[in-house]
Amino acid sequence: MKIIVCVKQVPDAKDVRLDPETNTLAREGVQSIMNPYDQHAVEEAVRLKEKLGGEVTVLSMGPPQAVDVLKQAISCGADHAVLVSDRAFAGADTWATSYTLAKAVNKIGAFDLILCGKQAIDGDTAQVGPGLAIQLKIPFVTCVQKIRDASESELVMERMMDDGYDVVAVDYPMLLTVVKDLNEPRVPSLKGKMRAKKAEIQVLSAEDVGADSAKIGLAGSPTQVVDVFPPPPRGERAILSGSIDEQVEQLVEKLAAYL
């Protein structure tokens, strides 16, 4: 079984905040982390490998420092890591990202399964997984919350829906995007950390993966960010007064219309 997991390095979103005084982003000490959903994708890949045998390759597109998240994945049980990195990727939207990742996957070679996180917490788009599957012309299932049965030929799984879940079966090759309910990611073992330290990470440029320069970076992106601004300000504070009993009394009166 050959499994590829796409992992992205993202700023820890809870650290990204607007400075209320200056209305600019306060970024001091913002940590870069592995996208949380991708940790679950790595974990599931390693579990499937342990069950069915095979190899796990982790793949990321990003700046040179993204090797950190690839090493983290190796410390958690992945076997190989590939980073596609090139200044020419700057400004890539989800279309250009999925095109680039598809080129990299083709370069890596044959695979049975590709796992992605449901979404990356910096953009929250959830578009790269399906986009990558389309580029590779393979079926995909999004928001997988449980793998019920994994065999050499197919996966049976639950995909989360708004009103419950669907149970679906798919033959390899396929691409899945995963949610957090799927599993509990392991903490890296000491041995894993040693392996990660020594691991060779293959770094590929746009040219190495044979990407068409018109289809990568901003030039290859149909969408473009034209403005960023702080969210609208909040309203006035409105706190009731009096003893707790009086406040409850007032509240029930105010809510009469809803009772």
Partner: protein
């Protein structure tokens, strides 16, 4: 690429502050651009000495942008019912279509859709493309995607909108990628620019800490998924007229490698919190799973449903379908009572359009009070039992 003219740059740092992506830093008195740059151009506009410029970012404009016309809404139909976001999208779609002087079309895909198409017309659609077939009873990305993609190729709409639901956020990315179209996820505001018909798509980014406006300058259709409960549906008007087009399906369109074995509805019928008029939300202030008992009691006394912050969903006190916020659901009930919820921006993003907001929190500085219409500062374990008995007493009288 973003170019810094080293001669002109005075190292003032305005660009550093105006960059939402943390991609510029002043080093030794000169702005230095990192890989994080998305080429959005915010810094270029803000640079007072014109030391910054974008180069080599002109795109190959699709020559026939003008051949694409009309506003489309994908209307989600599942298990015998239409999602309410479909009607909300017809509301905003109608506005966009009127602003452009074009038609508004709805795409309805499913099985046994009955009189749904008429309902879509009564809610604002001029045309309904209806693909109704037993082979479309269950949603799969491949079948629904094939039908929608082929319709778009054939009719060339300038805009395609869909709900940012589990289905919309799976189906639409695949369709957009096949078409090479730009897609913006989770929009909360849509406008159309009069001169060139560009759809201005605004959405929260970085967990709601900033808002971003996105356009698709050189490709069509312009596609967006839109959060439920942010757009307003039009009044049902049986007098509206429109055309229903039954789509002829090819066998290949009904073929899917994903086999749906079963579709399971959550047994809790209060799970679909987006449909509730009254929500009682619980947060970490409840102390434990047991705290939710009080929330359930209050909800049931009001005939409402239970929602939650992400902190308690992560803690496993209640299931994900109840989560409100940036990474949960957007809700807009008539009444939202937040109990022991601090009011982090990511939570507020999902409930701020509620008609009336009540907050109960023992910390008078909790940001939830900034969005509340009525706030009580105090211990929820003292307040909630009193509130429940008052409400029950009120209802009896």
């Amino acid at each position: 690429m973003l170019i810094v003219d080293k001669e002109l740059c005075v190292g003032c740092g305005i660009c550093e502050d105006s960059c939402a992506f943390g991609a510029i830093e002043v080093v030794d008195g000169i702005a230095v651009v990192s890989e994080a740059c998305t080429l959005c151009g915010a810094c270029v506009d803000n640079c007072e000495v014109e030391a910054l410029r974008l180069e080599g970012v002109e795109k190959n404009v699709q020559v026939d942008l003008d051949n694409w016309n009309g506003i489309w809404v994908y209307c989600e139909y599942r298990s015998g019912s239409l999602s309410s976001v479909s009607l909300e999208l017809l509301g905003i779609g109608r506005k966009l279509a009127d602003a452009r002087g074009v038609k508004l079309a709805a795409v309805l895909i499913g099985a046994d859709t009955g009189d749904t198409a008429d309902n879509l017309i009564a809610h604002g659609a001029d045309i309904v493309y209806r693909a109704d077939d037993p082979g479309l009873a269950y949603f799969t990305d491949e079948t629904y995607g094939a039908v929608l993609t082929d319709l778009i190729k054939q009719h060339q709409p300038e805009v395609v909108l869909a709900g940012a639901t589990a289905i919309g956020r799976s189906l639409i990315p695949g369709v957009a990628n096949t078409l090479g179209a730009g897609l913006t996820a989770d929009c909360t505001q849509l406008d159309i620019r009069a001169d060139d018909g560009a759809l201005l798509q605004t959405r929260p980014a970085f967990g709601g800490n900033i808002m971003a406006t996105i356009v698709c300058p050189s490709s069509r259709p312009q596609m967006s998924t839109v959060r439920p409960n942010v757009m307003k549906e039009l009044e049902y008007d049986a007098g509206r007229t429109g055309e229903i087009v039954d789509v002829a399906l090819e066998p290949a369109q009904l073929d899917s490698k994903v086999r749906v074995l079963e579709s399971v509805q959550a047994e809790n019928d209060d799970v679909n919190i987006q449909e509730s008029d009254i929500l009682v939300g619980g947060g970490r202030g409840l102390d434990s799973e047991k705290g939710f008992e009080l929330i359930r009691q209050l909800a049931s006394s009001l005939n409402g449903s239970v929602s939650a912050s992400r902190a308690v969903v992560d803690a496993g006190w209640i299931g994900y379908p109840h989560q409100v916020g940036q990474t949960g659901k957007t809700v807009a009930p008539k009444l939202y009572i937040a109990c022991g919820i601090s009011g982090a921006i990511q939570h507020v993003a999902g409930m701020q359009s509620s008609e009336t907001i009540v907050a109960i929190n023992r910390d008078e500085n909790a940001p939830i009070f900034d969005v509340a219409d009525f706030g009580i500062v105090g211990d929820l374990f003292e307040i909630l039992p009193k509130l429940i008995s008052k409400i029950e007493g009120y209802q009896k009288s």
